[in-house]
């Protein structure tokens, strides 16, 4: 397999095409602009559709239309643009339409800045828009994983008829790493008999809709959605534990932050501190199992995020008070150094 050196944003775009993405609708925003630029070049050559919409709102609704028509479709943006897409994401979830949404996060709130951040965690994992819903959230930490998770994202979206979010950050989008595009056998997925393709000889017309005027029906629909979400929680949670075999202390971090935390863990190991790293790969469903696995021997947890503390709530929910949970975060586009995190690891050991 040939290794190529690629930017995260471009590798993501290439992976999407290879995963069968037929349509892309987006609106420019830093730091994800290489992604639409790549697709603008490649899609027309490879039988796909690239369209720059008039706004993020329009883009996500184009996604709704194309997803409803039964094709694989993707959009991408960065934090402020994702806020604009929330309306559409809620509708996509309500109408159970599969699609992939990429958020290359930047600093907020408001216009914020264009530096890397992880402050959209709540928005991503709690729904984000109105109504009772969840989106699957994947958090890659390297360019290779970004590529691999794009394939998974499309498969998961189709399997569960649900939007899947890929949550990256400015660094991941901008960084270059070697990547291999492995050939993947197509997954066995349910046929899209629900798609509005025109009746084309079908007896009954298909309707894509999220409106249920009868509350009894809407409750039924919401319960059905939640049954699906429960199944996803049971089957699809993913994580990685590094340096964990004999660890007594654990750093918890995802995405680019997990990379820096990993460097800090290695520093601590050199000084004989028994510390490991829990790296959630799915942020929703949250990998509670990772904590079950280490709780019998864990003395304390340190959550590190590029935010003022969002994922730490899920860590606390997973630890259920059985060990102290500490937090260290940098925000607004600032990124901690490995040394900073190392100091926090030492503090954690001193405190517990």
């Amino acid at each position: 397999m040939e290794k190529v050196l690629m930017k995260g944003n471009e590798a993501l775009a290439e992976a999407a095409i290879r995963a069968g993405c037929k349509c892309f609708f987006g609106y420019p925003i830093t730091p994800q602009s290489e992604l639409p630029a790549y697709l603008a070049r490649e899609m027309p050559k490879r039988g796909g559709v690239f369209l720059q919409a008039e706004s993020e709102v329009a883009a996500i609704n184009m996604v709704y239309g194309a997803a409803g028509a039964g094709v694989r479709v993707m959009t991408s943006s960065s934090s402020p643009g994702i806020s604009l897409k929330q309306e559409g994401i809620s509708y996509l979830c309500g109408a159970e339409l599969p699609c992939v949404i990429v958020n290359i996060m930047r600093g907020g709130p408001g216009l914020g800045d264009i530096q890397p951040a992880q402050s959209d965690y709540f928005q991503a994992t709690r729904g984000g828009g109105h109504g009772d819903y969840r989106t699957i959230v994947l958090a890659p930490a390297s360019v290779q994983e970004l590529v691999d998770l794009v394939y998974d994202a499309f498969d998961l979206a189709d399997k569960y008829r649900n939007p899947v979010l890929i949550l990256g950050d400015g660094i991941l989008g901008q960084m270059m790493e070697p990547v291999v595009f492995k050939e993947r056998p197509a997954k066995e997925l349910p046929p899209k008999t629900w798609a509005t393709t025109g009746k084309m000889g079908r007896q009954k017309s298909n309707v894509i809709n999220s409106l249920y005027l009868d509350p009894v029906k809407l409750e039924e629909h919401n319960r059905k959605l939640f049954k699906k979400y429960q199944e996803i929680e049971q089957k699809e949670a993913r994580y990685e534990i590094l340096n964990g075999d004999d660890a007594e202390y654990f750093v918890v971090a995802y995405g680019i932050c997990a990379r820096i935390a990993h460097a800090a863990v290695e520093m601590a190991r050199e000084e004989g501190i028994k510390v490991g790293l829990i790296r959630p790969i799915t942020l929703w469903p949250y990998p509670k199992k990772a904590f079950e696995e280490v709780l019998p021997r864990a003395k304390a947890f340190l959550t590190v995020e590029l935010s003022c503390g969002q994922m730490v709530e899920d860590v606390k929910l997973s630890v259920e008070g059985r060990a102290p949970v500490y937090f260290y975060g940098r925000t607004g586009g600032m990124v901690p150094t490995a040394e900073e995190i190392f100091e926090e690891i030492k503090k954690m050991r001193g405190l517990s």
Partner: protein, 247 residues
Amino acid sequence: MKVVFERPKSLQPTKTHYCPGCGHGVIHRLVAEVIDELGIQDKTIGVAPVGCAVLAYNYFDVDMQQAAHGRAPAVATGIKRALPDRVVFTYQGDGDLAAIGTAEIVHAAARGENITVIFVNNAIYGMTGGQMAPTTLVGQRTETSPYGRDPQVAGYPIRVCEMLATLDGPSFLARAELTDVKNINKAKSYIKKAFEMQLAGKGFSLVEILSPCPTNWGMKPIDAVEWVKKEMVKVFPPGVFKEPKEG
């Protein structure tokens, strides 16, 4: 016996929820008749708006998507780009198309998106109970312009056909009035023309239809029709605003 009139195939037998004398029922039927006449029921996909016509997917017997408020042209764009050989239309009211969805309609038109838009203009918000619309006439009383629309406060009505006619993208733009047999037939001929444009790959087509809303105007159905004829057409002159040159 020869059939003079019967329910078109592309219209479900379902009774509509529309008020007595509402224009939506007629416009639904005209669209369905055109779909039947062009023989495109099997490959047509409609997009329902938010507004009184939100339940349009229950009435048309074609595949339908229900869109977020104002976003029907974007949703239709997604469908059409994914399935270019299908016929895609949106059905939108004045709040949906000319207020919250202004950006979407202008840009779909500017792109020359090869879709057909049925725009129902009744100068008021029906579904939410009679508030001022972007097409409410100056002086017209609504729930949110109780003293009559005052341009000093609420500005002026938007003429969608005229506005879109400044763009290069649209192939066919026309406005009809739902006032009498002759004009209803004319509305149908415009709708047919609009779909034919799409079938010929000519790009964006839109038919605006001035339609009575007796309930929210506080009028009897017959008076509402008269009001369209006397007042609305003064502000929104019917006619063709854009069509391809012959030849």
